[in-house]
């Protein structure tokens, strides 16, 4: 397997934003333990801005690093900006990922979108969130 970048290793060894948010405005869980990764992402929304984001992840080095990075990227962003965060942006911010681990960045994007979806649902607003079409393999938990 390709080696992880130093940035991936750094986010893996010292992940940012690990934990839960009590009474979160949105929670999304994606992935499947059978595939080896499950991400749960919590967001706190104040006004139109994502004030806080935290995660819990079961998964490999790349899964933990992408969770850490996506929560970093989303904090302080408006919801509209957050909706535009792609898996490629997560991977790029980590200095790239080994090919076989790209699905972890897809999972991070899905976790974020799933949390935003939940936010809209809780608000009773129709959700504009489009889930990524191709994630490589099945990630349905529910």
């Amino acid at each position: 397997m390709e080696q992880y970048s130093s940035k991936v290793m750094d986010h893996f060894a010292h992940p940012h934003n690990v934990g839960e948010i009590e009474n979160a405005d949105g929670v999304g869980t994606v992935g499947n333990p059978v595939c080896g990764d499950v991400m749960r992402l919590y967001i706190k929304v104040e006004g139109n801005v994502i004030a806080d984001a935290k995660f819990k992840t079961f998964g490999c080095g790349a899964a933990i690093a992408t969770s850490s990075m996506v929560t970093d990227l989303v904090k302080g962003k408006t919801i509209d900006e957050a909706l535009k965060i792609s898996n490629a942006a997560v991977a790029e911010a980590l200095g790239g990922l080994p090919k076989v681990k790209m699905h972890c960045s897809v999972l991070a994007e899905e976790a974020l979108k799933s949390a935003l979806n939940d936010y809209y649902k809780k608000k009773g607003i129709p959700s504009p969130v489009k889930m990524p079409a191709e994630s490589g393999h099945e990630h349905d938990m529910e």
């Binding site: 397997m1 992940p15 333990p33 059978v34 080896g36 499950v38 899964a63 681990k101």
Partner: protein, 394 residues
């Protein structure tokens, strides 16, 4: 930082005595064993001496040993070579589902060329049932291939019982002994096999030097053609230093095997007990007693193997992981699947394989370092969180 290598199933270091034996054959004694001049004869003699030593290790005759480049080559050679050379007798082969891929993939290839293959299951401890072998044999069966012990879970198969059946039914029996040779006694006579693979770098020999034992009288089709080497069965100029190293490693294994087993089993037991005492939701894979003395394969619920491997590496501890994420295919181990390990927990698998360089202090260091890693990863795991919440509801 302490460095603890617990990945001897991947490879072992070359023993200093092995290296010493090999050194003259790189540059000083560089001859080609096929040449008749003195320089060539010197190499030829060294190769033949190594053949005697390798034969002695497994109770074979020297002329029944064929040197190859790897355990994978030996397995390919045996499976394809014996099947192809004996296809006029039948076209059915029996293998276990937990064989190494160097057996399973050639089996698939043979299927494409008109052979049929039966893949036998194992029980939850990884044992093949000899009755299953007996029932699977048909008039068309020519070859059975069951590994001596599994490289991942260490389960030692009832080879003697199976060979009694294959002999009675007139079927060839190959056994992949790459995981066992040098660690537990391997004797082709008492095992009753017709061919057997072994690999030097798995027991303190060099990489690139392995062997296939083929019982005298068993027909086998060469897979590498174009030379007279290895009695015409395997073309290519011999890896003389490697073969010399393999011979020396075989000699050391003969001398040390009792000591190795007596040293490693208690050390492994110490590791197993230490981890079981300190980590909850931990499953030991493989057979409780019929297991390689250096093998410990564990599955930990709610944590993923690669994460554990990476954190252990940061502490100087080298192990392997059976997780889907560590493999290219993103599938968990076919061995764990076969023994019925839950796919979710299979991803939390670590393979720790000990060696003669490990001390009790090394083991205690791992017992000290792994639990906090597991705790930290579980605190980060949504699966662990869900489990705790469910337990509370109960």
């Amino acid at each position: 930082m302490r460095r603890v290598y617990l990945d001897h199933a991947a490879t072992t270091p070359v023993h200093p005595k092995v290296l010493e034996a090999m050194m003259p054959y790189f540059s000083g004694k560089f001859g080609n064993p096929s040449n008749l001049h003195d320089i060539g004869r010197e190499s030829k003699n060294a190769v033949e001496e190594a053949r005697v030593k390798t034969a002695l290790l497994i109770g074979a005759k020297p002329e029944e040993i064929f040197f190859t480049s790897s355990g994978a080559e030996s397995n390919n050679f045996a499976l394809k070579g014996i099947a192809q050379a004996n296809s006029q007798k039948g076209k059915h082969i029996i293998v276990s589902q937990i064989e190494h891929f160097s057996i399973l993939h050639p089996a698939k290839t043979l299927e494409k060329s008109g052979f049929t293959v039966t893949y036998l299951p194992t029980d939850r401890q990884g044992l093949v049932n000899p009755d299953d072998v007996s029932k699977a044999i048909t008039k068309d069966t020519i070859l059975v291939s069951i590994m001596h012990a599994n490289n991942e879970i260490g389960t030692i198969q009832p080879i003697e019982e199976i060979s009694r059946i294959t002999k009675e039914r007139g079927v060839f029996f190959h056994s992949d002994a790459v995981a066992t040779t040098g660690w537990i006694p391997v004797n082709v006579q008492s095992l009753g096999v017709d061919s057997l693979s072994l690999s030097g770098h798995q027991f303190y020999g060099p990489k690139g030097a392995s062997a296939l034992y083929v019982r005298k009288g068993v027909r086998i089709k060469p897979q590498i053609e174009g030379g007279i080497q290895e009695d015409g069965r395997r073309a290519g100029t011999e890896n003389v230093p490697g073969i010399v190293g393999l011979g020396r490693a075989a000699e050391l294994a003969v001398a040390e095997i009792e000591h190795r087993m007596a040293y490693l089993a208690p050390l492994r037991d110490r590791l197993q007990k230490g981890l079981l005492d300190r980590i909850d939701h931990l499953v030991v894979n493989g057979h409780a007693t019929r297991r390689l003395p250096q093998n410990l394969n564990i599955s930990l619920w709610y944590v993923e193997g690669e994460s554990m491997l990476l954190f252990l590496n940061m502490e100087g501890v080298s192990v392997s992981s059976g997780s889907a994420c560590t493999s290219r295919s993103l599938k968990s181990s076919h061995v764990l699947t076969c023994i019925g390990t839950d796919a979710a927990v299979a991803n939390g698998t670590l393979l720790l394989t000990l060696g003669m360089g490990n001390t009790a202090e090394d083991i205690d260091y791992v017992i000290e370092k792994l639990p906090p890693i597991v705790k930290r990863l579980r605190e980060m795991s949504p699966l662990y969180e869900d489990m705790i919440k469910k337990e509370k509801v109960r």
